[in-house]
């Protein structure tokens, strides 16, 4: 059925108005996300300070620094692919956006598996009933939960972005999820030295 010209122009007008509305909301969306990130940073700060309060700066020699280093590298790489996904969405490259989102999800899953391996190893040396065990399981567990929620968010934008909605219209959902992912990476940058390296 043919669409009347005035109806089509009305539709375009609505889309433009919606785009303008989304653009106007962008600064407040960003501020809201940053406030959420700040509150989450305080939460991680409390967890890390617990470690120093209970154990001082002593780290048991049984902690696998190599595994911690591998986990850090995987998470840093995932931050790079997340940045690429966002950049490609901004520059309207649908293929690049989807490919890099998938890479990020994959690296996130590798990280979660790595934390699982860490837990299996940690159970032998520091069961959750010990001081260091409590700190390690709580901190890495809560961080891994953040990674899992990030993976869920990335999966959502990957699926919803199949029709090109983020490379043609507002890319705020991609920006939001990617910023959250970077924050999870930043949190690990402090967890890694605190749990594996300091002495």
């Amino acid at each position: 059925m043919a669409v009347a010209p005035h109806a089509a122009s009305h539709g375009q007008g609505q889309a433009a108005s919606h785009g303008g509305h989304a653009r106007a909301r962008l600064p407040i969306n960003r501020l809201g996300l940053w406030l959420f990130i700040l509150s989450d940073a305080f939460f991680f700060g409390a967890l890390l300070s617990t470690r120093y309060y209970l154990r001082g700066v002593h780290t048991p020699s049984e902690v696998s620094q190599l595994l911690g280093f591998v986990l850090t590298t995987v998470l840093l790489l995932s931050s790079v692919t997340a940045y690429r996904a966002e950049t490609f969405a901004i520059h309207r490259d649908q293929k690049g956006f989807r490919r890099n989102t998938l890479y990020t999800i994959f690296l996130g899953l590798i990280f979660v598996v790595g934390v699982g391996v860490e837990w299996v190893l940690a159970f032998e040396h520091f069961p959750p009933s010990t001081e260091f065990g409590t700190i390690l399981f709580t901190t890495t567990g809560i961080h891994a939960f953040h990674v899992l929620t990030g993976i869920l968010g990335l999966t959502a934008v990957y699926r919803l972005g199949k029709d090109g909605r983020y490379t043609q219209g507002s890319f705020w959902p991609v920006e939001g999820v990617v910023k959250y992912w970077h924050f999870v990476d930043v949190a690990w940058m402090f967890i890694f030295p605190t749990l594996y390296l300091v002495n």
Binding site: F192, L197, N199
Partner: protein, 70 residues
Amino acid sequence: MHTDGLKRAMRRMWWMILALAVLTLLDVIIPALMPHGNVVFLGIVAAIEAGLVFYYFMHIGQLWHPHEEE
């Protein structure tokens, strides 16, 4: 114009990969060189890493320049 912006963003990404790789290696080298009393140095390295990610990957500057896309 889009291609220029994309090239700039990718150049920024390579610099960030280099900087984060160096800082992560420092993370591992510091405890090897300084087995005791390394907490301050590790804290400084982590703070620099976090600052770089906040500024270049998370575009924290957009809070002060709301309509900047990149």
